[in-house]
Symmetry: C2
Subunit: 192 residues, 2 copies
């Protein structure tokens, strides 16, 4: 549960996810989450500004993680190596908490408004990657294609990973999917 920060934040997030999974996001109150975690409602609001934040507060941590991975890549890294660095950092962040992410994903998928917010969050994260790639000298259009392709890869592979009983690592799955995609795309589109 480290990724939701230690201590009371983690306990609250775990309690909330268990309740959301059982009764749906809108069927649970902040009071019930606080009670399940053994704290007061006021304590809940010291850790999360809203009930939604239990699901979405990690977005800024992911943005920072990706920025660090991209800015820290070797100076001579090409566009593909930069994407690989970003994807590897993401995989490392998600890997230890598969069960929690599985639960979070199911809660969001069951609620159209949450799904929409998740979609917008992912677009914002990809836009952040575009900025970092451009700062590293990747031309604008190529940076955008690459970042949003990274999002497509990650989203899809992530969905398979959270439900994978065989527990193939996220990094292994991503490497395989990227290899398949590169092969598939090598077929030229003829400009008619």
């Amino acid at each position: 549960m480290a990724r939701w920060a230690p201590g009371a934040t983690a306990r609250l997030a775990e309690a909330a996810l268990a309740l959301f999974a059982e009764r749906g996001f809108s069927g649970v109150t902040v009071g019930e989450i606080a009670a399940a975690a053994g704290v007061t409602e006021r304590t809940f609001f010291r850790h999360f500004a809203t009930k939604e934040d239990v699901l979405f507060s990690q977005g800024s941590e992911i943005v920072a993680l990706l920025a660090a991975a991209l800015d820290g890549a070797p100076a001579d890294a090409g566009p593909g190596e930069l994407l690989a660095a970003a994807v590897a950092a993401l995989a490392g962040w998600f890997e230890p908490d598969r069960e929690l992410h599985r639960r979070r994903t199911a809660v969001i998928a069951a609620d159209p408004a949450l799904h929409e917010r998740e979609l917008l969050k992912q677009q914002a994260i990809a836009a952040g990657i575009v900025d970092r790639l451009r700062a590293r000298g990747v031309p604008a259009e190529r940076a955008s294609v690459l970042a949003f392709t990274g999002l497509a890869l990650f989203q899809t592979v992530y969905r398979g990973w959270v439900d994978d009983r065989a527990r193939t690592s996220l990094a292994t799955r991503l490497a395989r999917a990227q290899r398949d995609l590169a092969r598939d795309l090598a077929v030229p589109v003829s400009p008619s």
Copy 2:
């Protein structure tokens, strides 16, 4: 203007886009659109169920176009060739109406609610491509990565194309971007 269907529908869409571009989507009424096109409000509603539909009614035509392109591809076409067929069909559909699409895109970008609806529409179109690829025997995860990568490619290249004074064709731009992406992705992600 053929893509918004001929006659009154086209005249209404053109009038609406000109007004939206000038005063923003929410600053224009259906009555004003009808008057600008020289028809009654009742006539407007025979062509579009809502004001939003002027911007979004083409979605179903795009879905049908993509389905036809994918279902009509040669029986031995691989995943990459199927994507190429879909992308080529899309490019052919957009190509003749660059100025109208430029205007539509600017109107949507200026309005967060419209932008969100456009995002959801694009996701639905990509999900439709996933279904068709699977029906053609492409494995689920690979179909999803491919369809959403196609969306990433198209979205980005499309944005450059609508503003391109040099008028490089959309198909040429897409072919170039796909080639660059295939090259970039060929860098392996090492599973750590």
